[in-house]
């Protein structure tokens, strides 16, 4: 993680993005109001946020499953984006006014490295672009003040187009390219893989979405898979965990199909220290873990 050059990845996090967590917190940016809910995950995020703040980082670099590009990896390429983000799937929970800054220098450096690795890449320079809710939610939950710039990286559909193994290969390369760019940037970066673990939703929600008496994992096999992956994280066996991602993706219908978790581990050069698992909880039946790798 550390480097002899000036840039550094000071932490990497699994930072899932269920819009329910923002809804539950009632921040001023979000229009719908709630009576709370999903505390385990939110309190886990609170602890992680404090840990990250103490690292005095310069930039958040997030890979998001909800900016899907099929032709290459795209990165936000303008310094400022402002607008309203409504989750088209859960619009009743997430109508968020965002106002964020992008570290275009680092976006460009990462894009250049991706290009040098032989993969197609593009900087997104349309000022009307609506930033995806995966990016917004993960970044909000680790930095609700929005006082640090971000870099947002799109994900592919390689798992569906080819296979989870192809996704894995691409994500490993993207991780290495990201690492190279950060080490050469002179910046202290925190990386966020914005994805859930098992990802089978309930297709109904209770009349009050935050009624926690309805919340549990969709099925036990999903739970077992989540625990297997989290166990390896806690044991510091990140390489072994990554090697299971293709199977996990298929069998637990995991949002790791985005490649974000593979990218994170690759960019961190497969940390051997035990991960700090701040929380595990379900959101509308999907498995979510808030996990931090830092202090390497």
């Amino acid at each position: 993680m550390t480097s002899s050059s000036s840039g550094q990845i000071v932490a990497g996090c699994l930072a899932p993005h269920p819009p329910h967590l923002i809804y539950a917190e009632n921040p001023p940016q979000n229009k719908p109001r709630s009576e709370g809910g999903w505390e385990t995950l939110r309190w886990g995020y609170e602890v992680m946020q404090k840990n990250l703040d103490a690292l005095n980082y310069d930039v958040l670099v997030v890979m998001t499953p909800h900016w899907r590009t099929y032709v290459g990896t795209h990165l936000l390429g303008l310094p400022h984006f402002k607008g309203i983000s409504i989750d088209p799937v859960f619009p009743h929970l997430f109508q968020y006014n965002y106002d964020l800054k992008v570290d275009v220098e680092l976006s460009t450096a990462i894009s250049d490295q991706i290009g040098q690795a032989g993969l197609p890449t593009k900087l997104m320079k349309n000022p009307d672009f609506r930033v995806d809710y995966g990016t917004i939610i993960s970044c909000h939950l680790v930095n609700p003040l929005w006082n640090k710039p971000i870099v947002a990286i799109s994900t592919h559909a390689s798992a569906a187009y080819f296979s989870p193994d192809v996704m894995q290969e691409e994500a490993l390369k993207l991780g290495m390219a990201t690492r190279k760019a950060i080490l050469g940037s002179g910046k202290r970066a925190v990386l966020l893989a914005s994805n859930s673990l098992s990802h089978r939703h309930f297709t109904h929600e209770p009349p009050l979405p935050e009624d926690m008496s309805f919340e549990h994992i969709t099925n036990h096999s999903q739970y077992l898979w989540d625990m297997k992956m989290i166990g390896l994280m806690k044991d510091g066996k990140s390489k072994e965990m990554v090697s299971l991602i293709p199977d996990f993706t298929e069998q637990a219908i995991s949002e790791t199909d985005s490649g974000a978790l593979t990218w994170l581990m690759s960019a961190m050069d497969f940390p051997k220290i035990p991960a700090k698992v701040h929380a595990y909880g379900t959101v509308i039946g999907t498995g979510n873990a808030v996990v931090e790798w830092s202090g390497i």
């Binding site: 900016w67 099929y70 799937v89 320079k125 009307d128 609506r130 187009y161 297709t203 298929e250 069998q251």
Partner: protein, 318 residues
């Protein structure tokens, strides 16, 4: 009730950069023809089922009376922004949701300022120029967990609503045929269908359309999904809805107004007009459910549909 049905592709090139390729210009011309046809039909409403609007909690139905926004496609953002103003038939949308619920479906309306209508619906409604004609629309999401029964029942619920309000409609499905895109940057002038296999399947599908065999084609949806679609969602559903809402038979005059490649996908503009004569009406394999009785939670075998379904929520390019 349904005056005419259309299959329309949803990628933004024919709208934003028609001149970049003769393929896109051909599609654009076909869209223009559809626009004039619809303007002379003067339907009360355009019903749009979009494969590019995924949903999880049943089906969502766009009901905001005026939808106004600037849209940018997440993939082809460099082609430009798309400002739009569309009118929804709010009352019909609400009735569709209510009728869907009566038939056992989970459905609800979406009425939110700033709601991001999907690229496919935006492209279709822009090219049909509903902003000028002021013909209202109702847009239906594609439920990622739904299979044939729910999709057919949704079509019937739409008909129930049209009948109750005594309205005429044009039915539009926004979908590609083969949906595989090229995965490297291409010169638009050299755009071509991703593979020969996709091309062959597209031509088969178009042959059915040209003969007006809508229900036959709908019944082939599972095979089309296996052969010509990237498995981003559990099944190829738009023709189930179209056939259900137009009438599950083969009594149509079909016209292929254009068939071109857009970044490798099979993009066709097809019209279907109800006709007196049937091209061919044999016994259909799959029945015509009236209600949705709930998930039976039976895991499908081949293709592991339930598993593929989950991923699609991120894959909102149809």
């Amino acid at each position: 009730m349904i005056l005419k049905g259309y299959v329309l592709p949803g990628l933004p090139q024919p709208l934003l950069t028609p001149k970049a390729s003769p393929h896109y210009q051909n599609l654009r011309n076909a869209f223009d023809q559809v626009k004039s046809e619809i303007n002379s039909l003067k339907p009360d409403v355009i019903l749009v089922y979009s494969t590019m609007w995924p949903s999880i909690l049943g089906h969502q139905i766009q009901s905001r009376p005026i939808c106004r926004l600037i849209h940018v496609d997440e993939e082809f953002h460099d082609l430009g922004s798309i400002p739009y103003e569309f009118y929804m038939d709010s009352e019909l949308a609400k009735t569709c949701a209510a009728k869907a619920q009566v038939r056992g479906l989970h459905a609800r309306t979406a009425d939110y300022e700033g709601f991001p209508i999907d690229t496919g619906s935006v492209v279709a409604l822009k090219l049909l120029d509903v902003q000028t004609s002021k013909i209202p629309a109702v847009i239906f999401s594609s439920n990622i967990y739904a299979d044939r029964t729910e999709t057919v029942v949704l079509g019937k619920a739409c008909l129930d609503a049209l009948k109750e309000q005594n309205k005429t409609a044009v039915a539009v499905v926004v979908t590609t045929l083969s949906n595989r895109l090229h995965q490297s940057f291409i010169d638009p002038a050299e755009d071509k269908i991703h593979s020969l296999k996709d091309q062959e399947w597209n031509l088969k599908i178009l042959e059915f359309f040209e003969k007006g065999r809508l229900e036959d084609l709908a019944q082939l949806s599972r095979q089309i999904q296996r052969e010509a679609r990237v498995k981003k969602v559990n099944n190829f559903k738009p023709l189930w809805w179209l056939s259900s809402v137009m009438g599950a038979n083969n009594k149509y005059t079909g016209k292929v107004l254009a068939y071109e490649s857009v970044y490798g996908t099979g993009s066709a503009v097809v019209s279907l007009t109800p006709a007196a004569e049937s091209a061919r009406d044999l016994e259909f394999d799959e029945d015509s459910p009236e209600v949705f009785a709930g998930e039976r939670n039976v895991l499908s075998g081949e293709g592991s549909e339930n598993q593929n379904a989950m991923r699609s929520i991120e894959d909102n390019q149809d």
